[in-house]
Symmetry: C2
Subunit: 420 residues, 2 copies
């Protein structure tokens, strides 16, 4: 049953996709049999890259459905635009392929159900390739959570806090889908870099789940301000109103009483941060402090508030996640500090072994759903909205058997495979 | 009309009140003619302190209304319990006294209206003594905001993030009112350390106002966990359920589209932070980073995200608020890094000059209202609730004339008085 090699069809060759393709092509157990983009030059650049690196001449097309007809392709990987992911996932599973989809939110709850139901119908897994689940910091924190260092978890925060004004304002020139999204939609359009790791800390889908959310949007002035400062009155978007609020705050309540706060914050000048914060009855982690404070571990300073921050760096020797230790010993490979490599390996390993993916279709659907539900809440003046249970009740089991395959309780495979 | 001395009646002599009284007694233009507490030993300790420091023997009572009958008293200062502030404010104004109330939230919207209407009826000001409005960092940021360094403001965050588990768990032994509040109420019970300074940045009540909020509470497990770790099974609160969620998140929307996020977070272990964050079209301030990033000022590092943090310390020489410069030159006096001194001086100065207080009754009511509205929202599953306009429309004027007195657009008097 196990495969020695995985044959990939690759859909979406913007700058993120092109980089991802290069990473895939560095893996000896991966072949790329087809590449696709809506832009001919991008598709051709992908084809050329495959030929240079692997020697084979992949099918090169502007219509992704042509790739789905190639029987030898085991899996589709799609760093396409946010609004294209859903359809590509569904059609790929219907064609009998594993799917790994780049991050992004859903445009309707029906779309999330369709993804789930298609996976259940076809037996094909659908994994959101959420690289931040594989970050060194995030995995180390996960390891500490599993060992009980934070006590009972109570509250988590995260954000995508990243100045993308130029990418959005110049979206057409850069052929980037963010611009059309920002011009037309108002919601938490990019929640998964935070909600992914947080879902793993809180065991969402494995004994816990998200129940409801509210979402609130600030005014939208940041992109226009950037255009005024950098492009001048002749720029055709000079007076154009962007629908997306500069800062969108989403507050989620979970079945066991935990709260999660997400910030989408990409239209104002600021240094990058994913703003992670995690609090339990025994301690706290703050990404912005690059530190934790854990009772019984962090030295108590003799101050009036009895707590101090301790650099996370000091805890790596003891608490770094085993996968990351193994990975660093093998030499960090590539992409966003290694997490791109790890998330793709987790996907490829699942395809080779014929198992479910560690981020499963229920995770994928639930995380994507935040976007469309946030749009709904904002449209209704921050009304609370219910978050569907895409497992139809199976989440109450901490190790739910789903179609005969167990979900792993870690974000990775059990261990690194021999290729590494 | 101007007074050389101010005669104070002082209500509430817990540890905060006792410290505050000592500070007042250090001021040569202040006399304390009466002291009051519900506990006789506390009232007596206050009386003794006045006699030691000033030589006079103040009226000492367990019934604050006795102080209101003393005609020579110009102003009441009340660091009493949260649930007592409202009534004391109202009765003091009815007796013709200025009122300075310690921070704390309201228990009903009607109470806020009663405070406002009593002030309008009697002409007596009611100032929340929100010391954080006078913090060196907060005032410097205010000064930078007024000079336009942040551009158009869009989003603010703040919190009261302070491990108070022992104070709450031992509340009865310590005779601290927090315990009964935490046992019974679930909401943003202590919003003003953040909302006060933020209100000043955003000109709330002076051309802007808060429109609505949602509030979401996490589970309540932190205090019980502390009791289990520190007191054992015989402690009578061992199995007692606390109503207050460990982390309460409140999201406020303002008339001009700004968002404000508040965190109440006092039942879990963590280092202290007020978690201030302020974002505009031109820059950001983060308290946790102790830094800003301002376009055109902060050096651009040649990194992929084009922004860096710059320690706020570097900007003090140019942007420190004039009041603070003056104050430091005179020698920082006392209490929470000087801000207690400054907030009391602002109040005393208003009483001496017979002017309105810089934090006026509309500010006081609006900030207190967050608490009861947050309780409402949580009780209804995070439903959005409207925030009343306690000015009845006068907020649309950036310098609203209120009963013939102009509100100052700074948090302080125009300058320090000669006593300093």
């Amino acid at each position: 049953m196990k495969k020695d090699k995985v044959n990939i069809g690759f859909i979406g060759l913007g700058s993120r996709g092109y980089g991802y393709l290069g990473l895939l092509l560095s893996m000896p157990d991966v072949e790329v049999l087809g590449v696709c983009d809506l832009y001919e030059d991008r598709a051709e650049a992908g084809r050329k890259l495959v030929q240079e690196r692997k020697g084979n001449n992949p099918v090169c097309t502007l219509d992704y459905k042509e790739l789905l007809e190639i029987e030898e392709i085991d899996a589709i990987i799609t760093p396409s635009s946010w609004t294209a992911h859903g359809e590509i996932c569904i059609n790929s599973m219907l064609a009998g392929k594993y799917v790994g989809t780049e991050v992004g939110g859903a445009t309707s709850i029906q779309q999330c159900w369709d993804i789930v139901k298609t996976s259940e119908l076809t037996g094909m897994p659908c994994m959101m390739l959420e690289n931040c689940c594989y970050g060194r910091e995030e995995m180390t924190i996960l390891n500490m959570v599993k060992q009980g260092l934070f006590g009972e978890l109570v509250h988590a925060e995260g954000g995508y806090r990243h100045d993308l004004r130029d990418e959005v304002a110049l979206g057409r020139e850069k052929r980037h889908y963010r611009q059309l999204n920002y011009l037309n939609r108002n919601g938490e359009v990019y929640p998964t870099h935070e909600i992914g790791p947080i879902a793993k800390y809180l065991n969402l889908g494995r004994g816990n789940r998200m129940l409801s959310l509210t979402s609130t949007s600030s005014k939208s002035v940041g992109i226009n301000d950037w255009i005024k400062k950098n492009k001048g009155k002749d720029y055709d978007l000079y007076e154009k109103k962007f629908a997306l609020g500069d800062v969108v705050t989403t507050v989620i309540k979970c079945a066991h009483g935990e709260t999660i706060v997400l910030f989408h914050d990409t239209s104002l000048p600021r240094p990058y941060s994913r703003g992670n914060l995690l609090q339990g009855t025994n301690g706290i982690w703050s990404e912005d402090k690059a530190a934790v404070s854990i009772e019984g571990i962090t030295p108590v300073k003799n101050t009036w508030d009895h707590h101090a921050w301790q650099p996370l760096e000091e805890l790596y020797p003891e608490y770094e996640h085993p996968l990351w230790k193994q990975y660093r010993e093998a030499g960090v490979k590539a992409g966003h500090g290694g997490m791109d490599y790890l998330v793709i390996r987790a996907f490829i390993t699942a395809v080779k072994n014929g198992t479910d993916t560690p981020i499963n279709v229920y995770d994928t659907a639930a995380w994507m759903a935040i976007t469309t539900l946030s749009e709904d809440s904002i449209a209704m003046g921050s009304m609370p909205v219910a978050i569907p249970d895409f497992t139809n009740g199976r989440w109450i089991d901490p190790k739910p058997a789903i179609k005969g395959r167990y979900c792993l309780d870690e974000v990775s495979g059990e261990s690194m495979d021999e290729e590494w």
